[in-house]
């Protein structure tokens, strides 16, 4: 074809990687349903299998179109196995799911090899492919009764090593070792080496005696009984050893998988953008064009009367440019799920390897953050999760002994708070072992032996370069290049990482990343003439106030009784010294917000609508203000404050409904500042 296909390769690679991610996620889901069911075999949800199959199918199609033969061949084997699975011709049990995951890894490395031109680990891939093919053979044999049959050695491809040493007198019984070996060859793939060490010298050789012995390697779906059968007549006349070596499946080492992972994720130089963002961008550009036209018109027939108009126009231009900048920046925002997507697989593989039962719970992954941040966040996150798995979560037995459930939990929570994106990695394992850390630190000379350190200080010690309390170094962790690198990475992103740990209960790593530029889903509300933005995540509901539910306790403040509970009622107009439209509670709305488990009701005049806003950090432009987490510039140029719900609730519960008068002034100042200063973009 004259068309250069190379331009499409990029698309193919990206699609394939995405498809692989989907396959992986679905396979993990498949396995989880099995775990939940408590059996070894999986009652497969057909939709899951279909999804996995479709991904494999499209990868196969794409790769053969573009001429990536290795990928296509492997994908073909995988696809046919998946087809058998989804047709119900074979049952996916845990072993099969594990093998399929391995196959996904192989496919990934093959695709990377095709992309980068480097070679993949051919042997490992070949081994996995063989296993896949044999899966097909034996799966047809398994009865689809849903019972886990005790798998005899026979039905797997086994690798037998047979040592056959006939007695010298074997020929005299009319038996011929050659015939026996030939019969063995009929059972599977045979490789024999004859051992001629028993041969005496020529003069002593008696042609009627057997001096040879054989080392036979037999590969195939062969039962031990079948092999023993072949030798049944000569059992007493020879020395026979049958040992099985199940073919070691060379697992692509964790390292190579991780490398593969790292290489893709870090270097995708394309971006997925949601269409509304692009639309907003286009709008902005449109506005810019309008402004520019207006300006050129002005300057064409310029008179000094029009100076003010010129200034206004220039201001407009500035605004438009800023908006354009922000729109573009917004395009670069990706949800954190991109950083989190490798973790389930990692947890799955590692938990199997370490023989621990771990469940990974991810929440808040739709929190968006800039792409560069995500790219550089992946490695530290990986490391922290690995640490949890390796050091934190105990083996099931230990957990049960400690009174915890067998399955450990690692919780990954991401959310926005006060101008930062917080990522919490919490595990319910054994927590940091302060005594060991202390001992190791002393050992490494970091602290004197008699130093008195608080638990927090001891926790801090692990961030020292070269520090590791792992007794054995594995390729998972323990090389001591971990925590300090993590910290420095996060520092370079402008954030920091903290530890909170409780011995025996678990540890929690808190990664704080500044919102250099982050987007918030907010609800805009109106108090008086000012517009505020309330983060959607904190909103529980909004109600019309029923006056008799309002009560005024003796200590001051107002309470609103909603169903069974009483919530502090906070009038934003009072808080921010804004003139409300009406002080009559029945005229406005009460927005119930929640943060940190506490609720409060915010009294506002009106709810305007839901919108996404770009968060501008107040602190960089102005300074920290209570009750406000950040500010934003709305489409029409006005400044809106983004409410800090946690702060507000704290204030409401503390009963301070009358904030310092200065606050309002601050806010106005802040608004002015944010409005006029050019945004600094990191």
């Amino acid at each position: 074809m004259a068309i250069d296909m190379r331009q499409f390769h990029q698309t193919f690679f990206e699609e394939s990687f995405e498809g692989l991610t989907v396959m992986e996620a679905e396979l993990l889901r498949l396995e989880r349903t099995a775990c939940a069911g408590g059996q070894d075999t999986v009652s497969a949800d057909p939709e899951i299998l279909n999804t996995i199959f479709r991904s494999a199918h499209s990868i196969k199609g794409g790769s053969s179109t573009f001429g990536f033969g290795d990928v296509a061949a492997f994908a073909h084997v995988l696809e046919s196995r998946l087809d058998a699975l989804r047709d119900g011709r074979s049952l996916p049990d845990r072993r099969v799911v594990g093998l399929l995951l391995l196959a996904v890894d192989c496919l990934r490395s093959l695709i990377i090899a095709a992309k980068t031109g480097k070679d993949a680990d051919k042997n490992a891939i070949e081994a996995v492919r063989l296993q896949l093919e044999n899966l097909g053979i034996e799966s047809g044999v398994l009865p689809v009764t849903g019972k886990t049959s005790t798998q005899p050695e026979a039905s797997t491809t086994t690798h037998w090593r047979i040592l056959f040493r006939p007695n010298p007198r074997m020929f005299c019984t009319g038996n011929d070792p050659l015939r026996i070996l030939r019969e063995l060859a009929g059972l599977g793939k045979l490789k024999t080496t004859a051992d001629v060490s028993g041969l005496p010298s020529w003069e002593q050789l008696n042609p009627e005696e057997c001096y040879l012995s054989w080392n036979v390697e037999l590969v195939g779906s062969v039962a031990r009984e079948a092999i023993a059968d072949v030798f049944s007549w000569v059992l007493d006349d020879c020395r026979l050893d049958i040992t099985s070596k199940t073919m070691p499946v060379p697992t692509l080492s964790q390292r190579s998988v991780a490398e593969a992972v790292a290489s893709i994720d870090a270097h995708t130089d394309t971006l997925r953008v949601s269409v509304p963002k692009v639309d907003a961008l286009i709008n902005t550009v449109g506005e810019l064009v309008i402004t520019q036209t207006m300006l050129s018109q002005l300057t064409a027939n310029f008179t000094f009367d029009n100076l003010s108009k010129l200034f206004a126009g220039l201001e407009q231009l500035e605004r438009n440019t800023r908006e354009l900048q922000e729109s573009v920046m917004r395009i670069r925002m990706l949800p954190l799920s991109f950083a989190f997507n490798r973790l389930p697989r990692l947890v799955h593989d590692m938990s199997q390897k370490l023989e621990k039962k771990v469940e990974l719970i991810i929440s808040g992954e739709q929190t968006e953050i800039d792409k560069t941040v995500i790219d550089r966040l992946i490695d530290p996150l990986l490391h922290l999760v690995r640490n949890s798995l390796d050091h934190g979560i105990e083996p099931p037995a230990e957990r049960v002994a400690a009174g915890k459930s067998q399955t450990g939990t690692i919780e990954l929570k991401a959310y926005q708070k006060s101008g930062n994106v917080i990522i919490e990695i919490r595990d319910d394992g054994r927590g940091l072992r302060h005594d060991r850390i202390f001992a190791k630190a002393v050992e490494q000379g970091l602290i004197p032996a008699d130093a008195k350190l608080s638990p927090d200080e001891i926790s801090e010690l692990i961030f020292h370069p070269g520090f590791s309390t792992a007794v054995t170094v594995s390729d998972i962790s323990g090389r001591g290049v971990g925590m300090d690198v993590v910290r420095s990475n996060i520092h370079s992103l402008g954030g920091n990482v903290e530890i909170a740990s409780q011995a025996g209960q678990g540890a929690c790593f808190i990664v704080r990343l500044p919102l250099t530029l982050a987007i918030l889903d907010g609800l805009s509300l109106q108090v008086g003439t000012h517009i505020y933005i309330l983060p959607l995540v904190s909103i529980v509901e909004s109600v019309r106030i029923v006056p008799d539910q309002v009560s005024r306790p003796a200590g001051g403040g107002e309470l609103y009784g909603l169903r069974k509970e009483y919530l502090p009622l906070l009038r934003l107009s009072d808080l921010f010294h804004v003139v409300p439209r009406s002080t009559d509670l029945t005229q406005g709305l009460l927005v119930i917000v929640e943060a940190d488990g506490k609720k409060a009701g915010l009294y506002v005049d009106d709810l305007l609508g839901q919108q996404q806003v770009v968060i501008k950090n107040l602190e960089t432009h102005y300074r920290k203000v209570d009750g406000i987490s950040a500010a934003t510039i709305l489409g029409d140029g006005t400044v809106a404050m983004i409410l800090d719900v946690t702060g507000l609730i704290r204030m409401a519960h503390a009963g301070a409904t009358r904030p310092t008068p200065a606050l309002h002034g601050h806010i106005q100042d802040a608004g002015r500042h944010t409005g006029t200063m050019a945004p600094t973009i990191n």
């Binding site: 005299c172 019984t173 009319g174």
Partner: protein, 120 residues
């Protein structure tokens, strides 16, 4: 194809063995006891011997030993026909140099497989 000697004092047994072996093209020589067997193989070349154990005049074990003593039949495969209850006899046969054993009653397919296995 091959020449097979079958020795059994039961005519029906010999008949069944011949019938089965003929169906794949082997040539079969019959004898009703050990003595007759030794007589009948004179001048012929036999590739395989299938012999019963319990026979008058000369029983299977003795025939086996006599055959093994002949130069021509030192390495010829000799299979013993036996019923399950004769474990002791089987041991005797092995010691005397039998190549293998077939359990009675035999399944013709099994017989053919064993014959093929032993004739190569």
């Amino acid at each position: 194809m091959a020449t097979i000697l079958t020795v059994d004092d039961t005519a029906s047994m010999r008949q069944m063995i011949s019938f089965t072996l003929h169906s794949v093209g082997h040539e079969v020589i019959q004898a009703s006891d050990g003595q007759e067997a030794l007589k009948v193989i004179e001048g012929k070349k036999v590739d395989l011997v299938i012999a019963d154990i319990n026979m008058p005049n000369m029983d299977g074990i003795t025939l086996l030993k006599s055959l093994r003593a002949l130069a021509d039949y030192k390495f010829t495969p000799i299979l013993m026909l036996t019923t399950e209850s004769q474990e002791a006899k089987r041991q005797q046969g092995k010691v005397a140099g039998a190549t293998g054993w077939i359990v009675k009653p035999f399944n013709p397919e099994q017989l053919l497989t064993v014959v093929k296995k032993v004739l190569g």
